[in-house]
């Protein structure tokens, strides 16, 4: 029990500290890295609660996809963070008010006993017919591909549409792009790979284009 409590305080403290660093770090790349650290600690908290599937999803989806996407955006787009930060002091009072209201609501909820909804008292409540000794992941798998297979399949179609959409809206067929053609490289022989070209006096030779044998001379 003490071990669990120890890990809880470790994860919680690290999560809060790294969350603070996300907004305090000067370098935006560091901020994203701290965000990833915060995600990992939240995943640790989930494991302590017995929700191992949520923990895995958090790492796979948020760290693996979302945070990396953030990194791409931060590194590739020319966002002027100094300018963004300039408005910080000006907007701080409004932010403090909103934060204060949320804080007050949370305290009220806690004091009034609103957290005791019965649901919170038995975390990781099992699906009735399977019992407690089956892991969350297995339980989800058992219903996802049987009872909810219809929704699962439609969700798959939605993702297919998203994929087609992303490709059709962004893929550009540029001309004059030199792509590697492995088959052509492997099939090269000395006979096809070399060509003896006579350079006319005072003229020049253009590099071979499509076929290796044909050369164009001008001059």
């Amino acid at each position: 029990m003490a071990l669990t409590a120890g890990f809880f305080y470790l994860f919680a403290a690290l999560a809060v500290a790294s969350a603070a660093m996300v907004i305090l770090a000067r370098n935006p790349v560091h901020a994203v890295l701290f965000l990833i650290l915060a995600f990992f600690n939240a995943a640790g908290l989930f494991i302590l609660l017995g929700a191992e599937f949520l923990a895995m999803i958090l790492v796979v989806v948020y760290v693996g996809a979302v945070a990396v996407l953030f990194l791409f955006v931060v590194m590739m787009l020319d966002v002027d963070f100094a300018e963004l930060k300039a408005g910080f002091i000006k907007n701080a009072p409004i932010g403090l008010i909103v934060g204060g209201i949320v804080m007050g609501e949370l305290i009220l909820l806690f004091v009034s006993g609103g957290f005791e909804l019965g649901l919170a008292q038995q975390p990781g409540a099992p699906i009735a017919e399977l019992g407690r000794d089956v892991s969350n992941t297995k339980q989800l798998g058992l219903v996802l591909y049987t009872r909810y297979v219809f929704f699962f399949q439609i969700a798959g179609l939605v993702l297919l549409v998203a994929m087609i959409g992303a490709i059709v809206l962004t893929l550009q067929h540029r001309k004059n792009v030199r792509r590697q053609s492995i088959a052509a490289q492997v099939a090269r022989t000395p006979a096809t790979g070399m060509a003896i070209v006579k350079v006319p006096p005072g003229g020049y030779v253009l590099p071979p284009t499509e076929s290796n044998t044909k050369t164009e001379t001008q001059g």
């Binding site: 038995q122 179609l157 087609i164 959409g165």
Partner: protein, 509 residues
């Protein structure tokens, strides 16, 4: 094998989804065609839509429920599915040439249209909130991409982005409302929500009503009804014209049908609550549709306002909350689709040697240069205005009749008045065509657009002779929905109760 046989009711959707993937694969493996003019994929898509449409129409009568009530196949869903499959196929027939001219007739747009139609079919068959949301998202995502498909055109990209941002917002609202409904009833299933809401005092339904309002906001956006209509004119104007034609027909029908099914099957017990909302949306849409079209010069913008107005008229049928009301709504939508497709076939034919034109004034003197097209467009616009003996008149007659039967006199009176105002715009276009001197020389009408134009005009003119088949089919469809609410579901009560138990939060005492 028996297991597979039990999936028969959903077979059309499966065929269409696999067909869409087949079209994509065929596009990959085919020899490189000229980019942007992929007629083969277009014809494949039309054939698929036609085949699936026949499969749906041939489906046996009665009501079948699959996946624990998530998927419902009844007369209502079959009626609307046939309509939307037909509308999608006709849009492709009439606009393939226009798409190819704009260099956007790609394999992908055909596949996206097919997948959007799959989403619409799932929407009208949805039996619970999760299926509703997933079907809606499948359709919407495909539509966002289709709106922006002409990515070299700034206005098309703008239309796509606008549609996407506002659409995501409305999806969020809908999802929030659905979560409230789940929280206050303990189930996402329409029939269980109906039983729970009906079996307790009205005071306990407050949270449920708040959730319902959010869901209605989300759906009002999807049908483009007033207060949530702002995206419609911009998207209609910016998107390529064939895409606009598609938007105005099939997705509107799907979202309306979804709204009708949800309200009638999940919330019949609190009908007096949502009727007020529907009445207000209906009046506001009719009035705005009538007044805002005046003074527009681009022909696609008044079409957008016209579609807003027509949604308002159709909603009268829903506000009535009777079997006749639902029947009138379905008839209205069917006739609206025919008129819209015909009109868009005319708009697609408005092109000169330099390219398409969208200015209303360029129609001047069309009667002297191309009498056939001028006649077709005039008939379609007369029908939209509701001139007697044309189909549009009967559409309005049915909904106003239903409103009077349900004692919604106010709604009927405002409807009649706003249709008089709306007639001004349609008649102005007719006046420009027939009485102004010719200024623009159009290219001859293409075959696909011509066929759809002629078919729609013939339908509008001849509906008076044989209205019975459409009216009977619509009545049958409406009966499936209203019968379903009183007799609960066709399955035995214990099954529904078991589902109610399964749907509640696990672990609650």
């Amino acid at each position: 094998m028996d297991q597979l046989k039990s999936y028969a009711p959903i077979l059309p959707e499966i065929v269409l989804a696999l067909g869409a993937m087949g079209v994509l694969m065929a596009g990959v493996f085919r020899k490189q065609v000229e980019p942007g003019a992929d007629y083969v994929s277009g014809w494949l898509a039309i054939a698929l839509l036609a085949i699936v449409g026949i499969m749906v129409a041939m489906g046996g009568p009665g009501r079948e429920v699959l996946f624990e009530g998530s998927f419902i196949n009844d007369a209502f869903s079959r009626f609307t599915k046939v309509l939307m499959l037909g509308a999608a196929a006709l849009v492709l027939v009439m606009s393939m040439d226009a798409l190819a001219r704009a260099r956007i007739l790609s394999t992908e747009i055909c596949a996206l249209i097919l997948l959007a139609v799959v989403g619409m079919m799932l929407m009208v068959s949805a039996g619970n909130m999760i299926a509703l949301f997933l079907g809606l998202e499948l359709q919407s995502l495909a539509l966002y991409v289709i709106a922006a498909i002409d990515r070299r055109n700034v206005r098309s990209s703008e239309a796509g982005l606008k549609y996407f941002v506002l659409g995501s917002l409305s999806s969020g609202m809908l999802l929030y409302g659905a979560s409230l409904i789940y929280g206050f009833t303990g189930s996402v299933d329409f029939s269980v929500i109906a039983t729970v809401a009906q079996g307790r005092p009205a005071a306990e339904n407050v949270g449920l009503i708040v959730g319902l309002v959010f869901v209605l906001v989300g759906l009002a956006f999807k049908i483009g009804a007033v207060l949530f209509h702002m995206w419609t004119p911009d998207v209609y104007e910016g998107a390529p014209t064939p895409v606009t034609a598609f938007f105005a027909a099939a997705p509107k029908l799907a979202a309306m049908a979804l709204l009708v099914r949800m309200l009638l099957q999940a919330f019949p017990g609190i009908a007096s609550q949502w009727q007020q909302i529907i009445v207000f949306i209906s009046i506001a849409s009719m009035v705005l549709g009538a007044f805002a079209a005046i003074g527009q010069t681009n022909i696609k913008r008044p079409m957008a306002y016209s579609s807003i107005g027509h949604v308002g008229y159709a909603l009268i049928g829903l506000a009535a909350f009777t079997e006749v009301g639902t029947q009138s709504l379905l008839i209205y939508l069917a006739i609206y689709i025919a008129m819209t497709l015909g009109t868009f076939a005319c708009i697609l034919s408005m092109r000169t040697a330099d390219g398409p034109v969208e200015d209303v004034q360029s129609l001047a003197g069309l009667a002297s240069t191309n009498l056939g097209m001028a006649f077709a467009l005039a008939m379609l616009l007369f029908s939209m205005a509701g001139i007697p003996t044309l189909a549009g008149f009967f559409a309005k007659l049915y909904v106003f009749g239903a409103a009077i039967e349900a004692k919604l006199y106010m709604l009927a009176i405002i409807g009649v008045l706003s249709s008089v105002v709306g007639a001004y715009y349609y008649l102005r276009v007719v006046k420009v065509m027939f009485f102004d001197p010719a200024t623009t020389e159009y290219m001859p009408v293409e075959r696909g657009a011509g066929i759809v134009m002629a078919a729609a005009t013939a339908f509008v003119l001849l509906f008076i002779i044989l209205p019975a088949p459409l009216a009977d089919a619509a009545l049958n469809a409406a009966r499936a929905l209203h019968g379903g609410t009183t007799a609960a579901v066709s399955e035995p009560a214990p099954a529904a109760a078991a589902r109610a138990g399964a749907g509640t939060v696990p672990g609650t005492p």
